[in-house]
């Protein structure tokens, strides 16, 4: 039985912790604390009560065994740039990266650009897939916009609309990543 380390990264509130919790076979180890971004929180809460009130400050960790017996060790990074040192720590030894982007965020394409840039070397050496969340709440920008952005920067990665609360949706992302790792 082989083991694979995967990392979920992406913008704050995109659903990294939720996605890992949705699929993990073990109780997820997480390091969430209450967010003190009061101003942002209150503004967002007035328009969107589904925003979470906690943030991950170190990592999330879960495990999943695929049908073929492959065991996945799944890590989640903090979303905020100020925790970028954790990105470098968590990506060590990983075989693949899943980038989640909150489509209801202030600048979702900019968020994708930031993560593609931060993990550029890793993506070059291995692979990644992109999941866009909360498209039900904010349908724009659509997937075509993201495709165009990546194409214009010479990046070819699979991109999907996903629901981090749906096991099928998250497992689909993981299967896509595993396929990318196996077949390039």
């Amino acid at each position: 039985m082989s083991e694979i380390k995967l990392v979920f990264t992406g913008s704050a509130g995109a659903g990294k912790t939720t996605a890992i919790s949705t699929i993990s076979e073990i109780p997820v180890i997480n390091t969430d604390v209450r967010s003190n971004d009061f101003t942002t929180h209150l503004i967002r809460q007035s328009i969107d009560t589904s925003r979470k009130e906690t943030i991950t400050v170190a990592m999330d960790y879960g495990e999943l065994t695929l049908d073929d017996g492959q065991k996945l060790r799944i890590y989640g990074t903090p979303g905020q740039q100020r925790f970028d040192y954790m990105w470098k720590i968590l990506i060590k030894g990983a075989l693949g990266l899943i980038i989640l982007v909150d489509n209801a965020g202030d600048d979702p394409v900019g968020d994708l650009a930031r993560y593609l840039d931060n993990f550029r070397e890793f993506i070059k050496e291995t692979s990644a897939v992109v999941g866009i969340t909360r498209m039900d709440l904010s349908p724009e920008p659509n997937l075509e916009i993201y495709h165009e952005y990546m194409q214009s920067h010479g990046i070819r990665l699979p991109i999907y609309s996903v629901d981090a609360r749906s096991r099928d949706s998250v497992v689909m992302l993981i299967h896509a990543l595993v396929a990318m790792l196996e077949y390039g």
């Binding site: 390091t31 604390v33 003190n36 400050v57 170190a58 100020r82 040192y85």
Partner: protein, 125 residues
């Protein structure tokens, strides 16, 4: 974030900490989610904003580890290094105190003064 008056009080207490304990080279108060509230340092030029964020990460990891091991709450995290010691400790559930010394034999002083400082801060925050 905290009220400005509270940040001033934290800053004043950090200044007293460095006055009272000359082996402490720098001290930072950070929120549990990595926002710096107050900082003091001597003549050095440590990246204290960065240390504040890392302090929140380390305390959270400490809490997670002790919870997994059912060892109660995490009181301190001590990083003993070739060129000094860094101590991390809770002030309360939402604030973390980070202190450091470049003297390798000053762990006791660092911890006792830092602990007293954290306890006093906990009373007024």
């Amino acid at each position: 974030m905290l009220a400005p008056q509270l940040i001033t009080k934290l800053d004043q207490r950090l200044a007293k900490l460095l006055e009272d304990c000359s082996v402490i080279n720098a001290a930072v108060v950070t929120t549990a989610d990595g926002h710096m509230c107050a900082m003091r340092q001597g003549n050095q030029d440590y990246p204290l904003e960065r240390l504040a964020t890392m302090g929140s990460t380390l305390m959270s990891l400490g809490d997670t580890i002790t919870a997994e091991l059912k060892m109660g709450t995490c009181d301190n995290i001590i990083s003993e290094n070739k060129q000094g010691i860094v101590a991390f400790m809770h002030i309360n559930n939402n604030l973390v105190l980070v202190t450091l010394t470049v003297q390798k034999n000053a762990l006791g002083m660092l911890l006792s003064h830092s602990r007293r400082c954290a306890e006093e801060m906990a009373q007024f925050v």
